[in-house]
C-alpha cells in the first residue's frame, strides 16, 4: 500500500465522517418524509414543456442514492470528489423536497431557477464588494448600507434622467459610502465595525427619510421602466440551462463577469497578489514597497462601486422603483455569503445562489398545502445553511489583517 499523498488531519477525518453520517441522516429523512405523498408533481420547464415526477417513488429513489453516497463516504471517502458529491447530495435532497412539496400541483421549475439567478445579483455583487475590501484588510459590514443607498439614488436618477445615469449614480453612491468607510478607517483609524454599522444606519435612515419626505410627495422622482432580459444568441438555445442562465438582464451577465474577473485578478495578477498581501500581512507588503494605504483606498472605492451597482439592481433591474428598506437585509446575507465562501469570489457566488434559491423557492411554492405548517418550509433553507456551515464548512480563515488599522512607519 502506498503512503497517502496528503497528510489528513484529525479535523478532516472528523469532517469526512460527519459527512457520511449526514448523508445517511438525509437519506432517512428523505425516505420518511418526502415519500409521504403519492400524487405527481408537475415541473414546467419551458413555455409548453413539462415533466411529471411521481413524488413517492422519486423520494425512494433519491433516498437510496443518498444511502449509497453515505455508505461510500463512510467506507472509503470520495477524496477529491468530495465537494462534488456534497453538491450532488444537496441537489438530490432538494429535488426530493420539491417533488414532495409540489405533489399534486404544477409550478414553473425553470421560472424558479431563472428567478434564483436574477435574485442572486445583489447578493453576489455585495459579497464581491465585501471580498474586495476584506482581502485588503478592511472589514466591510456596510454592504447593506451601500446596496440600500445605491438603490435609492439610482431610482431617483433613473427616474429623472435615464437608466444609464441611474446605474452610474448607484455606482457613485456606493463609491461615496465606501469613501466614508475608507477615510474614517484608514485616515482617522476609527474602528471598522463601528464605521461600517454607522454607514448602514445612515443609509437606512437617510433613504427612509428621503422616501417619505421627497419621494412620496414627488412621484415623478420614483418610477422608471426597468431593463428587459436579453437573450444571448446561441447560448440561450441550450435546452434548460440556456433559459436559466442566458435569458437574463445585463445585471446578471455583469455579475457573472465580475465573479470571473475578480477570481482571475485576485489569483493571477500582480494587483491580486498585493491585495492579498496587504490583507494578510501588510507590514511585509509595505516593507517590500507596496503602498499599503493607497491600495486599500483604491480597493475600497472599487468595492463600493461593485456593491453600488448591485444596489442599482432593485430599481433598474427589477421593480422600477425604490421603497423603504427595499434591500431587507440582503447586505447581511451577502456578508454571510462572504464568510460561507471563505473570502473566495466563486465560493461567495455559490453562497449567494443558495440564499437566492431559498427566496425563489419561498415565492414559488411557499403557499402549497403540504400538510406541514408553511413556516417550517420557509425556515428550512436557514436551518440547512446552519447545518451546512456547522457540519461541513466549519471554521473559515479570514484575511489576517482585516480589522486592524495600518501604521506607516
Amino acid at each position: 500500500m502506498s503512503a497517502p499523498a496528503l497528510v489528513v488531519s484529525a479535523e478532516q477525518r472528523r469532517r469526512a465522517r460527519n459527512l457520511g453520517v449526514a448523508y445517511l441522516a438525509l437519506a432517512a429523512f428523505t425516505m420518511l418524509v418526502f415519500t409521504r405523498r403519492a400524487a405527481d408533481a408537475t415541473f414546467k420547464i419551458s413555455g409548453t414543456g413539462s415533466f411529471a415526477l411521481p413524488a413517492e417513488r422519486f423520494g425512494w429513489l433519491l433516498g437510496v442514492l443518498l444511502v449509497a453516497l453515505g455508505a461510500v463516504q463512510l467506507l472509503r471517502g470520495f477524496g477529491r470528489l468530495s465537494n462534488v458529491v456534497l453538491a450532488l447530495a444537496t441537489a438530490a435532497v432538494f429535488m426530493a423536497f420539491l417533488s414532495w412539496a409540489a405533489s399534486g400541483e404544477s409550478f414553473s421549475f425553470v421560472g424558479m431557477l431563472q428567478d434564483t439567478v436574477s435574485r442572486s445579483v445583489p447578493i453576489t455583487l455585495g459579497a464581491l464588494g465585501g471580498i474586495l475590501s476584506e482581502r485588503s484588510g478592511i472589514i466591510n459590514i456596510s454592504i447593506e448600507g451601500m446596496l440600500l443607498g445605491a438603490a435609492c439614488t439610482s431610482a431617483i436618477a433613473g427616474s429623472l434622467v435615464n437608466l444609464w445615469v441611474g446605474a452610474l449614480v448607484g455606482v457613485g453612491t456606493g463609491v461615496a459610502l465606501a469613501a466614508v468607510l475608507a477615510v474614517l478607517s484608514i485616515r482617522y483609524r476609527v474602528d471598522q465595525v463601528i464605521v461600517g454599522f454607522a454607514i448602514n444606519f445612515f443609509a437606512l435612515g437617510i433613504t427612509s427619510f428621503v422616501s417619505f419626505r421627497v419621494l412620496v410627495p414627488n412621484p415623478d422622482f420614483n418610477g422608471l421602466s426597468p431593463v428587459m432580459p436579453i437573450r444571448v444568441p446561441l447560448l440561450a438555445d441550450i435546452p434548460f440551462v440556456g433559459e436559466i442562465l442566458f435569458v437574463q438582464t445585463v445585471f446578471v451577465y455583469a455579475s457573472f463577469a465580475a465573479v470571473a474577473l475578480l477570481t482571475w485578478a485576485l489569483y493571477r495578477t500582480r494587483w491580486g497578489l498585493r491585495t492579498r498581501a496587504i490583507g494578510e500581512y501588510p507590514k511585509a507588503a509595505g516593507t517590500l514597497g507596496v503602498d499599503v494605504l493607497r491600495l486599500r483606498y483604491r480597493n475600497l472605492l472599487l468595492a463600493g462601486g461593485v456593491a453600488g451597482f448591485g444596489g442599482a439592481w432593485w430599481p433598474i433591474g427589477t421593480v422600477g422603483r425604490f421603497d423603504q428598506n427595499i434591500t431587507g437585509g440582503r447586505g447581511f446575507i451577502a456578508l454571510a455569503a462572504v464568510i460561507f465562501g471563505r473570502w473566495h469570489p466563486v465560493g461567495a457566488f455559490t453562497g449567494a445562489l443558495v440564499f437566492a434559491l431559498a427566496e425563489a423557492v419561498r415565492l414559488k411554492i411557499g403557499n402549497f398545502d403540504t400538510g406541514i405548517p408553511s413556516e417550517f418550509l420557509l425556515m428550512a433553507p436557514y436551518v440547512v445553511t446552519l447545518v451546512v456551515v456547522a457540519g461541513f464548512i466549519g471554521a473559515s480563515r479570514a484575511p489576517k489583517a482585516a480589522g486592524q488599522p495600518y501604521d506607516e512607519q
Binding site: 476609527v190 463601528i194 417619505f212 420557509l378 436557514y382 456551515v389
Partner: protein, 374 residues
C-alpha cells in the same frame, strides 16, 4: 477626572456635530419650501423639529416615561451585543434571542397559575432562560465546529421569526376569535408593575419595572467583568484568544458562556416588552431593536455603563422623534440618521478634533471587534 471631562467634551461635540449635519439634511429636503425659495419656512420647520425632539424626550413626565420605555429593551439587547463583543464575538442575533425570550416569558405569563409577584418573576426567569438557550446555540456551534457566529446568528434570526409566526398560530398561543398572528393576553399578575404607579390613573405613563431589571443587568454585567475570574477570562479571550488559550483559559467554553449570557440578556429584553409593555406577543415583537442594539453597544464601547447611557440616549431620540413626526412633517427616520452620525462622530475622536480644530492628544480607543477570528 480630567479624562472623564475630556471624554464628556468629545461626546458633547460629537452630538452637536451630528445635530448640525441632520439640520442640514432637514433643510435641503424641504423641497416644497425650497422650490419657492422660502428658506425661512424651512428654517422654521427645523426649529420646531428640534424643539419637539427635546420636548418629546425630556420635556415632561410623559416624555421621560416614553424615553425610559424605549430605552428598556435597547439597554437589555445592547448588553447582549456588548457581552459578546467583550468575548470577541459579533452577536447579530439579539432579534432571535428576544423572540425566544419573549415567547417563553409570554407562555409562563398566561399558562401558569401562581400568585402575584412569583408569577411575574417566573415569567422573567423563563424569558431569560429561553433567550439563553437560543443564544447558546451559536456559541456551542462556534466552540465545537468553528461555524462563524455572524452566519449562524443571522440564520437563527430568520428561524426564530418563522418559529414565532408558527407558534402564534397554534392553539396553545393563539388568541381566541382572532385570525391574525396575535397571542393570548398574559395574566394580570404576570404584568411588570408600572414605574410611575404612584401617578395612579395616568395611563400614558407606560414605563415599567423592566427598566429596573435592565439597570440590574447592567450592574450584573459590570460585576461579572470587573469582579470575577470568568469576566477577566472573557475579556482576555476577546482581546487575544491565542494568548488566553496559552495562559490556560478554556476559550471555547468561554464563548459558550458569553453567548448564553448574551441570549439571557436579549431574552429578558423580549420578555420585558411582553410582560411590561404589550401584555401579549406578535410577530413584530422584536422590531428593529436587535439591530439598534448593535449601535447601542458600539456607541457604549461595549462597557456596562456606556451601554446603559447610550440606550437611554437612543430611547430619548426615539421618543423625541415620535413627537417631532407629529408636530412637523419631518419623518421619524431622521432619528436613525442622527443615531448613525452620533455613533460615527463619537467613534472618530480624530475627526471631531479636526472639525473643531482642537489641539492636544486625542484618546484612541481600542478595536471593538478584532477581525473575523478563526
Amino acid at each position: 477626572m480630567t479624562e472623564t471631562l475630556k471624554a464628556l467634551r468629545y461626546t458633547a461635540l460629537a452630538v452637536v456635530a451630528a445635530l448640525f449635519v441632520s439640520a442640514f439634511i432637514i433643510v435641503i429636503t424641504d423641497i416644497a419650501a425650497l422650490r419657492e425659495g422660502d428658506v425661512l419656512t424651512a428654517l422654521d420647520t427645523l426649529r420646531l423639529a428640534y424643539w419637539s425632539l427635546f420636548k418629546g424626550s425630556f420635556g415632561s413626565l410623559r416624555a421621560i416615561s416614553a424615553t425610559i420605555t424605549g430605552a428598556t429593551p435597547l439597554m437589555l439587547a445592547g448588553l447582549a451585543v456588548s457581552v459578546a463583543f467583550k468575548a470577541g464575538l459579533f452577536n447579530i442575533g439579539a432579534t432571535g434571542q428576544m423572540l425566544a425570550g419573549g415567547m417563553t416569558g409570554l407562555w409562563v405569563g398566561f399558562a401558569l397559575d401562581v400568585p402575584g409577584p412569583i408569577h411575574v418573576t417566573l415569567a422573567l426567569v423563563a424569558g431569560a432562560l429561553g433567550g439563553a438557550v437560543f443564544g447558546a446555540i451559536p456559541g456551542v456551534l462556534k466552540a465545537r465546529t468553528g461555524a462563524h457566529e455572524v452566519i449562524t446568528t443571522i440564520m437563527l434570526n430568520s428561524i426564530a421569526g418563522f418559529l414565532t409566526l408558527w407558534l402564534l398560530k397554534t392553539e396553545a398561543f393563539k388568541r381566541e376569535g382572532r385570525d391574525d398572528a396575535i397571542s393570548k393576553l398574559i395574566d394580570e399578575d404576570a404584568k411588570l408593575p408600572r414605574l410611575f404607579w404612584f401617578m395612579g390613573t395616568r395611563i400614558d405613563l407606560q414605563a415599567h419595572l423592566g427598566f429596573v431589571v435592565a439597570l440590574a443587568c447592567v450592574a450584573v454585567f459590570w460585576w461579572l467583568l470587573n469582579r470575577t475570574t470568568t469576566g477577566f477570562e472573557l475579556r482576555a479571550t476577546g482581546l487575544n484568544q491565542e494568548a488566553a488559550r496559552y495562559a490556560g483559559m478554556r476559550t471555547r467554553s468561554l464563548m459558550v458562556v458569553a453567548m448564553t449570557l448574551a441570549g439571557a440578556f436579549a431574552g429578558l429584553a423580549g420578555a420585558s416588552e411582553v410582560l411590561g409593555l404589550y401584555g401579549f406577543a406578535s410577530a413584530s415583537l422584536a422590531g428593529d431593536i436587535g439591530f439598534d442594539a448593535i449601535a447601542v453597544a458600539l456607541l457604549g464601547r461595549s462597557t456596562p455603563v456606556g451601554t446603559a447611557v447610550s440606550a437611554i440616549l437612543f430611547g430619548a431620540l426615539q421618543a423625541g422623534g415620535r413627537q417631532m413626526q407629529v408636530n412637523t412633517d419631518v419623518p421619524i427616520d431622521l432619528i436613525i440618521v442622527l443615531r448613525a452620525l452620533i455613533v460615527m462622530f463619537i467613534a472618530a475622536p480624530l475627526l471631531v478634533k479636526a472639525m473643531y480644530r482642537l489641539k492636544g492628544e486625542a484618546q484612541s480607543h481600542g478595536q471593538t471587534f478584532r477581525g473575523w477570528g478563526g
